[in-house]
């Protein structure tokens, strides 16, 4: 492996790695699904396991960061991840709803694409929302709309409670 690839070897939080694996698997499944129209598909991914040797460190702000070892390194820390296929019934419980008007006109599509309610947030605020699983207004609306919840989200993210309340009202 070249030094360049060692330089590109990122440090990550566990969620970053899981996101990256999920994105890779989704991308592969999407391509295979598309391909199935022309070729038919009789195989699919059932399980994925990953065993990686990593170096772990805790940062000053409390994050736990990992980095996989480069070929010339070694570490006593081994991370094992197993991904199983999620059943449709399990998926339904957490699936986001993307259903809207049956026929989308150009204005609606543009609004859905451009209208990012979190556009004005700092990276840190956006990230703290993501830690709570909130990437959109729909995600936020899964939380009970109570003053206690708004206060708790505000405390954990550093975002004004009034702002969170406005998002809830959208």
């Amino acid at each position: 492996m070249s030094d360049d690839s060692a330089d590109e070897n990122l440090e990550w939080e566990l969620s970053d790695l899981v996101d990256a694996i999920a994105a890779e698997v989704d991308s592969a499944q999407d391509t295979l699904s598309l391909k199935s129209y022309s070729r038919g598909l009789s195989l699919s991914l059932k399980k994925l396991s990953l065993t990686v040797e990593v170096k772990a460190r805790r940062t000053g702000d409390g994050k736990l960061l990992f980095r996989t070892v480069n070929p010339d390194e070694t570490s006593a820390t081994v991370l094992k991840l197993e991904f199983d296929q999620v059943l449709q019934s399990q998926l339904m419980e957490v699936r986001k709803s993307f259903e809207g008007a049956a026929i989308a006109d150009e204005t609606a599509i543009a609004a859905a694409t451009v209208d990012d309610p979190f556009a004005d947030l700092s990276d840190q605020e956006r990230r703290s929302l993501e830690i709570l699983g909130i990437r959109s207004i729909d995600d936020l609306n899964r939380y009970p709309k109570s003053p206690q919840i708004i206060a708790e989200i505000s405390r954990k993210t550093g975002i004004e409670a009034s702002q969170i309340h406005r998002w809830f009202s959208k």
């Binding site: 990122l10 592969a28 295979l32 391909k35 070729r39 598909l41 991914l45 059932k46 065993t51 010339d72």
Partner: protein, 90 residues
């Protein structure tokens, strides 16, 4: 010389390749009157160095790159990780 490939691309290649083979096997078994064994699950266990790589845009998830060791190279001191992919017949 070692080879790098993203996890998603590797899955695509393996599934697409196996799909053709298994489809041909199933088609052949339909033609024969005797019972035939059929592939059910396929498990691929690969040694690989795993790296989460940087991307030019933060909007795109960093690709998870696997570097598969070359059989012609002597392995360096570090240990390899393993990637196990289980594929099932639909």
């Amino acid at each position: 010389m070692s080879t790098s490939i993203s996890l998603g691309h590797l899955i695509q290649l393996v599934v697409a390749e196996l799909n053709q083979t298994v489809a041909a096997t199933i088609a052949a078994s339909h033609l024969e009157t005797v019972e035939a064994f059929q592939v059910n699950d396929i498990e691929l266990d690969l040694p690989a160095h795993v790296q989460l790589r940087t991307t030019p845009s933060t909007a795109i998830a960093a690709p998870l790159m696997l570097t598969l060791p070359s059989a012609l190279e002597t392995l360096s001191v570090g240990r390899l990780g393993r990637v196990r992919i289980t594929i099932k017949l639909e």
